[in-house]
Amino acid sequence: MYCQGCWIAACVDKGYAFLSKLREQFIWLILIFFLSACHHQPHNNPYPSRDDKANVYYGAFSTPPKTLDPAKSYTVNEAQFISLIYETPLEYHYLKRPWALKPLLAEGLPQIRYLDAQGLPTLDRLKAKSSEYIIHIRPGIYYQPHPALARDTQGQLVYAHLSPAQAQHYHQISDFTQTGTRELTADDFVYEIKRLASPQVQSPIYGLMSGHIMDLAHLRARLEMQMQKNPKTPLDLRDYSFSGAEVLDRYTYRIRLSDPYPQFMYWLAMSFFAPYPWEADRFYSQPGFAHQNISIDWVPIGTGPYQLSQNNPNALLQLIKNPNFHREKLPQGLAHYAGEELPKIQGLEFYSEKESIPRWNKFLQGYYDQSGIGSDSFDAAIAYNAQGLPELKPKLRDQGIKLQISTEPSIFYLGFNWQDPIVGGADPKAQKLRQALSIAIDMQEYIQIFLNGRGQLAQGPLPPGIWGAKTGSDAFNPFIFKKEQGQVKRRSLAEAQKLLTEAGYPNGIDVKTGKPLKLTLSIASDSRIDEGTLYTWFIQQFAKLNIELNIESTTYNRFQDKLNSGATQIFFSGWLADYPDPENFLFLLYGPNGKVKYGGENISNYQNADFDREYLAMSRLRKGPERQAEIDRMVAEVQEDAPWIWGFYPVSFQLSQPWVFNNHANPLVNNALKYMALDPEQRFKSRLARNKLAVWPLWLMGLTLGLIMVCLWYLHRQQKNKKPASISIKGKGPLC
């Protein structure tokens, strides 16, 4: 034995001593464990026990927000936080369908004036060349308490002029001892619109809005010039005049558009147009703050019902009630507290949950108040009844869990690239090929296999709930379905084969070349689905017409590159509505929005002069029979042209615990939590009932451990009683 190894032997000695101490501690731990089993609090409670009966909503997020800046954020997962902190001039009515706008920060809906070429008001939207929106905001609305708004007795901002040395003392927003507020004014709305043009903000909608808001592109050019001159000096947007948005008085502002764009009204319900105080920009631009994560991306400042009290995107986003929140009442028609002041919930806590299994199980244990249903837990939650309707499984129903189903304002489809020589273009043969494929590919089967039935078969580009979308048994695509004995049925495969023959591909053989028809489907790879099964399914669907399918699965970015360059033939894609107007779906097929030629959102590069003309008229018409007729014509045209294989409108299933009230499924309302209420007492009781401690496994473990110890003791005894072995040295015989 090496004497240097003694330290290890010493360590072993110390280890024994430590273990014997630990053994005592362990006994105590076991005792505490058993004793606390009698205590009225579940052991698996992930929250502090002081919050057991708190009026706090518990939710989860899987992807941490990248920014909470209202001018930058454009994702659904960020919108759920932003819409509770910031408010917009307008919002969607919580209960009404089809979706309708109502004033939020505005006194009423904006006054819209359409102007002709001479700048004179006109009532004819079709002849209008520009438009303006005059918005009156409600007085007496105040921002949440925030250090950026703290002022001293002389009225000077307390934290606006910190030296780098002073700024170093602040590591988080709670380090600022003083906070302040001020009244919301029209300047704040105009300031935010200017921020959309700021190169320092990089708003994702700048490109779109510069085509609508007057002077926005010019403002951007001036700001860029200023940044080139003084790259390190923060921009003060108040110094820049801007004709696109102007303050008319303390509570009124005007937005001027370079075109008549009636859908602009819907943008006023999106966070991009939420008010923003200039003081915040001054505050956050101070040296060193960005390196402490003190920025508008992470510490928002709004007028909404809640304010962010803790932003740890790694673990927890905590919101508390905004003490300065203005008076707003719960709408009539809600089951609970209708007419009372909102919000009813005092705080909101969202925990990071990256994996779906623990998130789902925590919902079942009562630790999350609401949950979606992942595909891996679908069978445990939902069963289809004899009528084919989804229902909660009895175990969940008995716990009082509520299911809400809603069709989302979005569509998924298989698109044909209009520029492709085989499947694209207005040529009747290509049209017949597309129609044949539309009949053969059974998207209803796709919904059943890959979405657990959570989808509604699409008949055209407009999802139900969008104004102008037709529903009912007569609203079917006559080129794919037909009505037989009062029932809508998919056209037969024989009809598809007939169309294929007329297209010049009898039995899937190209008559020109005599070779089998081969098509290519481009898909953005998605790790959430079983891609092997999906691809096999697609190949089988095309094989119904003896068409060979090649699948090109790439990353999302490569997929985008292919769409941009038109290097696709058939592709799988989708669209989630920005606003509930048919224009927001039909523009996906408008020629001048073509992706390859114009960089727009028409990724199938569809071109149809009639459709384009009708689109321009439809987009400007008021809601009414004339507009409906225009929409019907457009839908009929694209149904015949079949630039897309109309896939499905996703259907979302949302579960709520029995102690959650006023939950109304509304995919366009991101701030639904301000309408909701909780019963914390019921939640606490239910958690206790659902999370009873199982003690028997401890006994089992103890028994197993005991058995092992007995075995060891037996072996030890055996070894001890064994006759000592004789020791031999090689070649020298036994020593003893």
Binding site: W7, P46, P48, T63, Y206, G207, Y351, K354, L715, P724
Partner: protein, 325 residues
């Protein structure tokens, strides 16, 4: 010793640079700056101008390694690689692509990572050694066979199974601990106990079998025979004689891992909702945040090299016959 250390550190510099070059090459082979901009700006209404604007604001508008527009040495310095790497080498991590201070995030996330990694590391080693010694002590008995079969079973099961199975049994069915989450301070005990046990268990089979092989080699040596002849019990021989002598090869595999504990566990942190550096890396990869990815790769390299140097130092400390020259 000092010269040896200096030489090792000098050797480490080209390794770090090479890893950095490789990270740049691989990342930009898979993700162009346009892809990164698209990821940050969203998927709708993105114009070429918007992409350019984002790239310029985040310094991704330059060529990766060589700037053909620049003259002389500026061709190398006015590049993405140079600008992003120089600061990294002096541990100035800067801001992530979503404008969060990476250094600040590392500080915050290191605690939760270590809270799981250190106890599971210690538990795994201690248990593995004890089991290996028992296997050696009771070799050629049914008990040893039982332990070997158990080790093989433990080795054959995927970590993911341990995690999902552990969560199902301990947290979901028995309700002993929370399924996931984290709380700083003393409250973290109930959150980390299950991941710690699972992490220790998942490495137990392989480690115990490896240590058994080491101890078996020792048990046949003459000093053990002598110890037996002196009448020492098997237990004393195993723990006081075999363990200290077999510790040297164990140290080789163990010390090199110590610095890497800071990097956290990708899978465990993700499933148990532990806001550590493992989940930080996963998030960065998913969000194509190159600023974070290169920092994590760089730190991983530095810590691994540090582990190798530490191993050498430990060797010379434990076995004086080893000289660092």
């Amino acid at each position: 010793m000092l010269i040896y250390l200096l030489r090792k550190i000098l050797y480490a510099i080209p390794v770090i640079l090479a890893v950095n070059v490789l990270t740049f090459m691989l990342f930009f082979k898979l993700n162009s700056p346009d892809d990164m901009a698209r990821m940050q700006l969203g998927q709708k209404y993105i114009t070429t101008e918007a992409l350019m604007g984002w790239k310029k604001a985040h310094g991704y508008d330059k060529p990766v390694f060589y700037n053909t527009q620049a003259s002389s040495w500026h061709a190398f310095t006015d590049t993405l690689f140079f600008e992003k790497s120089v600061k990294l080498l002096i541990f100035d991590f800067g801001l992530s692509d979503s404008n969060r201070d990476i250094g600040q995030d590392l500080k915050t996330r290191m605690g939760p990572s270590l809270a799981v990694a250190i106890p599971s590391f210690i538990l795994s080693i201690v248990l593995s050694i004890v089991i290996a010694l028992f296997m050696v002590l009771y070799r050629n008995t049914g008990f040893e066979k039982f332990l070997i079969v158990s080790c093989i079973i433990l080795m054959s099961i995927s970590t993911l199974f341990y995690i999902i199975g552990g969560q199902f049994l301990v947290a979901k069915t028995w309700h002993w601990v929370p399924l996931s989450g984290y709380m700083p301070g003393w409250g973290q005990f109930k959150f980390i106990i299950l991941p710690v046990v699972i992490a220790a268990l998942s490495g137990l089979g392989a480690n115990a079998r490896w240590y058994r092989a080491i101890f078996l080699e020792e048990i046949n040596k003459e000093y053990v025979q002598l110890a037996k002849a002196k009448g020492l019990s098997g237990f004393q021989i195993a723990f006081y004689h075999v363990l200290p002598n077999g510790a040297l090869p164990i140290l080789t595999g163990v010390v090199v891992l110590i610095p890497s504990l800071f990097m956290g566990s990708l899978l465990l942190e993700s499933f148990f909702g532990i806001p550590g550096l493992g989940s930080y890396t996963i998030d960065a990869i998913l969000q194509q945040d190159f600023a974070i990815v290169r920092v994590m790769v760089y730190l991983g390299t530095v810590l691994y090299l540090l582990g190798l140097i530490l191993t050498d130092l430990t060797y010379s400390y434990v076995d004086p016959r080893v000289r660092l020259e």
